[in-house]
């Protein structure tokens, strides 16, 4: 293949994905169809549009559009691998069709297509670690698929219908448990998150933007569909379990994100955190609907939906930003960056806004979802159910801790990456950002600001989604240009005026700046940073990224598996060492303590089985397949009766 062909393939793929993104962004408005079919052999593929799928289609196509625009120039990095750009539209379309599909077969086909195409995208860099990450991702995602399929089979047995239309409010606790477990593996919830921090750093940045901001949402879509449409709303404890796991996931994710120095790995952990927050909203909402606290339910649901959107917008822009850094500096390691704010002016401002948005700084959109979540949690403490009171207290504590650590983690990300002195020669020679990259990052960032400042149209749209799913509205007046909610009968309105807040801050900023300008001496002199009077210029003397998280890490040392080592020449005297090497390795404690032992046990068992049965024999293998088939028949007999 010549380079011209490769370029052609690449651009074709990118423009197909841009077109697909744009088409499906306006699809729900252009074709207000309710249901439609494709007659294929042997099953017809059926699709249906409802308000929930519209919401998710808009998110997925929006993110795909941004990222595809970004890929126009960023794609030159992968000039040698044009197949990435052919797989990307397949990936995007399969995600959209998963959300649209209206029967089991269609859903599973596109789910599997989505998993496979994303698997090939994960391993596309071809490095050993990306192959390893891809294998882990493949195994985890198929474990999830097994659970989902089992849940669907049980649903089919219960209703004897393949179409989703027949599943309204019939799923019992077994089905819900199975399917939610399956979707949670894909979403990367706390105990199943191990694949995320490996897959994202190994993937090209534009793909990880889509994976983190769109694919994870498809899994969340599955959870919402199963819980709120298929599920019987009589299991309050299921909601509490989801709430607790969400809170743990948020806490665990951000704790690990804080200590990372690899930007993309850090963003992957931050995805786990945000998924946790979304699950908290979903869980609380399911609890509330199960116990007929409709107002709290719709508020928490609103929080979950808002956070899905906000996380997608800010996370996609951050991943695209990491792509820009990788392209221009050739490093993902924060300790090698630094001082980029002066070299990439506009881009660094965009990155700052995305960072502020994801760490929930008030006038921006990230805060909005968390505000709804807090309000609904406070409302839950006002109910008469003992368990939800205690779990919501614990959740409030964990959520606020998460909020503070998220601030620390993202201040570290921005501060170490963009501020200070350049930390390596690579950072000093960083290239400039292109205009298309800036535009494609600007779009989601602009939406972040716009939603944060003027959320009212979005809120009324989401109210429609909530109304469609549960029959109750979010009990909020958005007429007077403020968000007000009443969480409980005797509870007066809590309200949040984003426009007033931003105009107040900007007004004070303006007045203060003018007053100080008038009354102060405005002379300005540039000089070196104070370095204790030492003239020598040493860029290694500035504060490092791992140092920035050290204090918090020490207090919560039980949550990390950490090993650090200092190496030096042993012959030299203590205070006259020439070279000292400090190495630190911080791992995910769950991976070290649970997943690795399980892996070792499985390897051991399969080794034994290998030595006992000598699977080289063809007959024996056939016998095993035969036995498995018979076993399935027996299980089927018991299940159906």
């Amino acid at each position: 293949m010549g380079s011209g062909t490769r370029d052609f393939i690449r651009y074709t793929g990118i423009y197909i994905s841009i077109g697909a993104g744009l088409f499906f962004l306006f699809f729900p408005f252009l074709f207000p169809l309710k249901e439609f079919y494709f007659y294929t052999f042997p099953f017809p593929l059926t699709f249906k549009i409802d308000k929930l799928s519209v919401f998710f289609i808009i998110i997925i196509s929006l993110i795909s559009f941004f990222v595809s625009v970004f890929s126009i120039t960023y794609g030159k990095e992968y000039r040698e691998k044009p197949h990435i750009f052919l797989l990307t539209p397949a990936f995007i379309l399969s995600m959209i069709f998963v959300v649209l599909s209206n029967d089991i077969i269609t859903f599973l086909i596109f789910w599997e297509l989505m998993s496979l195409s994303s698997f090939f995208l994960v391993i596309s860099e071809g490095k050993p670690e990306s192959k390893k990450a891809g294998l882990l991702y493949f195994i985890m995602t198929h474990i999830g698929t097994v659970f989902i399929t089992a849940g669907f089979v049980l649903l089919y047995l219960k209703s004897s219908s393949l179409s989703f239309g027949g599943y309204k409010n019939i799923a019992g606790i077994l089905i819900l448990g199975l399917m939610i477990t399956g979707f949670s593996v894909k979403a990367g919830l706390f105990p199943f998150h191990v694949w995320l921090p490996h897959a994202h750093p190994a993937t090209p940045s534009n793909i990880s933007a889509i994976m983190s901001a769109a694919m994870v949402n498809v899994a969340v879509y599955g959870v919402i569909r199963v819980l709120f449409v298929f599920g019987l709303k009589i299991y309050p404890f299921l909601g509490i379990i989801l709430l607790v796991f969400g809170a743990l996931s948020a806490f665990f994710g951000i704790m690990n994100a804080l200590v990372q120095t690899d930007i993309k790995r850090m963003l992957a952990f931050s995805t786990i955190e945000n998924i946790g927050i979304i699950y908290m909203g979903i869980g609380l909402s399911f609890w509330a609907y199960s116990t007929s606290h409709a107002i709290i339910g719709s508020l928490a649901f609103m929080a979950a939906l808002l956070h899905i959107l906000n996380h997608s917008l800010s996370k996609s822009s951050l991943f695209m930003g990491s792509g820009v850094l990788v392209k221009n500096v050739r490093s993902r390691n924060m300790e090698e960056l630094g001082g980029l704010a002066k070299r990439m002016g506009f881009f660094s401002v965009l990155f700052l806004i995305a960072v502020m948005s994801i760490s929930a700084i008030p006038p921006l959109n990230g805060f909005l979802g968390e505000w709804y979540l807090y309000v609904s949690l406070v409302g839950a403490t006002q109910t008469s159910n003992l368990y939800i009171i205690y779990f919501s207290i614990i959740s409030i504590a964990l959520l606020s801790l998460t909020g503070a650590i998220a601030g620390a983690a993202f201040a570290k990300l921005y501060g170490i990456t963009f501020l200070g002195k350049h930390r390596s020669e690579k950072a000093r020679n960083a290239g400039k950002t292109g205009i298309i990259e800036n535009i494609s990052i600007f779009m989601p960032v602009f939406l972040c600001v716009a939603i944060g400042v003027y959320p009212y149209p979005l809120i009324s749209f989401l109210n429609g989604v909530s109304l469609y799913l549960s029959g109750t509205k979010g009990a909020l007046s958005n007429s007077g240009h403020f968000l007000a909610v009443q969480t409980f009968r005797n509870f007066s309105y809590s309200s949040y005026y984003p426009l007033l807040l931003i105009s107040g801050i900007l007004g004070l900023l303006f007045i203060g700046a003018i007053l100080i300008k008038i009354f102060s001496n405005n002379s300005l002199r540039r000089y070196k940073t104070w370095g204790c009077g030492i003239e020598e210029e040493n860029r290694a003397a500035q504060f490092s990224g791992s140092g920035f998280s050290y204090g918090i890490m020490k207090v919560f040392s039980t949550f990390y598996s950490r090993a650090s080592e200092i190496k030096f020449d042993s012959e030299v005297k203590k205070y006259f060492r020439k070279d000292t090497f400090y190495s630190e390795e911080i791992g995910d404690i769950l991976e070290k303590r649970i997943y690795d032992p399980i892996k070792r046990i499985i390897v051991k068992i399969s080794g034994y089985a290998d030595s006992i049965f000598e699977t080289g024999s063809m007959n024996l293998s056939l016998l095993f397949i035969f036995l498995a088939l018979v076993l399935c028949f027996i299980i089927y007999l018991f299940l159906v009766k």
Binding site: L386, Y390, I393, V555
Partner: protein, 208 residues
């Protein structure tokens, strides 16, 4: 009056939490004295509220024994053995404080389950006394020096006193008197033991 009683009862719990949060023994004894004072004031409030003369006496006895005499003995012993702070904690300070908080949550659940009717000053007292009891027990388990264990024991005793006073509108005076004297005897014996251990530890190297 009810509001004041509430304040005093809450302060009993808080002094127990503070005790879990400090490794200093002198501070612990002072806190115990403060806690007993709050208990006494609480008893006074109950007495004023229900106008029981036995409770006034009980108030005086608590002041005499728990606020003055027992801390005095403990301080005296402390002077002789010269321990300043708890070394070698089984559970770190923030952990034990968080543990105390979760014990409070737990006891609140239990209290809401157990108490259906309202007692003297609301079912809150049961929560507080149960939580104080559990924190005292936790102190006895996690601390290694005998002093802190004694303080834990005394905290448990205060918790039981609190519960008893609020449920029964004052125990029979004789019983209360007996309990107080038992307590005093226990503290005396324990002080003797501490001094003894300190002396023998000079030879054997044991920690008092």
């Amino acid at each position: 009056m009810v509001r004041l009683a509430e304040l005093f009862s809450v302060l009993i719990l808080i002094s127990a939490v503070l005790n879990a949060g400090s490794p200093f023994i002198k501070f612990g004894i002072k806190l115990y004295s403060f806690q007993s004072l709050m208990l006494a004031l609480y008893t006074l409030m109950v007495a004023l509220y229900s106008n029981t003369s036995a409770l006034y006496l009980s108030f005086l006895f608590i002041i005499l024994f728990k606020v003055v005499i027992i801390p005095y003995f403990l301080f005296n012993t402390l002077k002789r053995v010269e321990i300043k702070r708890e070394i070698d904690l089984a559970l770190g300070i923030p952990e034990s404080v968080l543990f105390a908080g979760s014990l409070t949550l737990l006891s609140n659940i239990i209290a809401e389950r157990v108490i259906k009717t309202t007692v003297t000053f609301g079912s809150l007292i049961f929560t507080i006394s149960l939580a104080t009891f559990l924190i005292g027990a936790m102190l006895m388990i996690t601390r290694k020096t005998l002093f802190s264990q004694i303080i834990g024991f005394l905290t448990i005793d205060n918790a039981i006193f609190l519960a008893g006073n609020s449920f029964t509108h004052g125990m029979p005076l004789l019983v209360e008197f007996g309990v107080l004297f038992d307590l005093l005897a226990a503290v005396l014996i324990l002080s003797l033991i501490i001094i003894h251990i300190k002396k023998s530890s000079l030879k054997t190297g044991l920690r008092s």
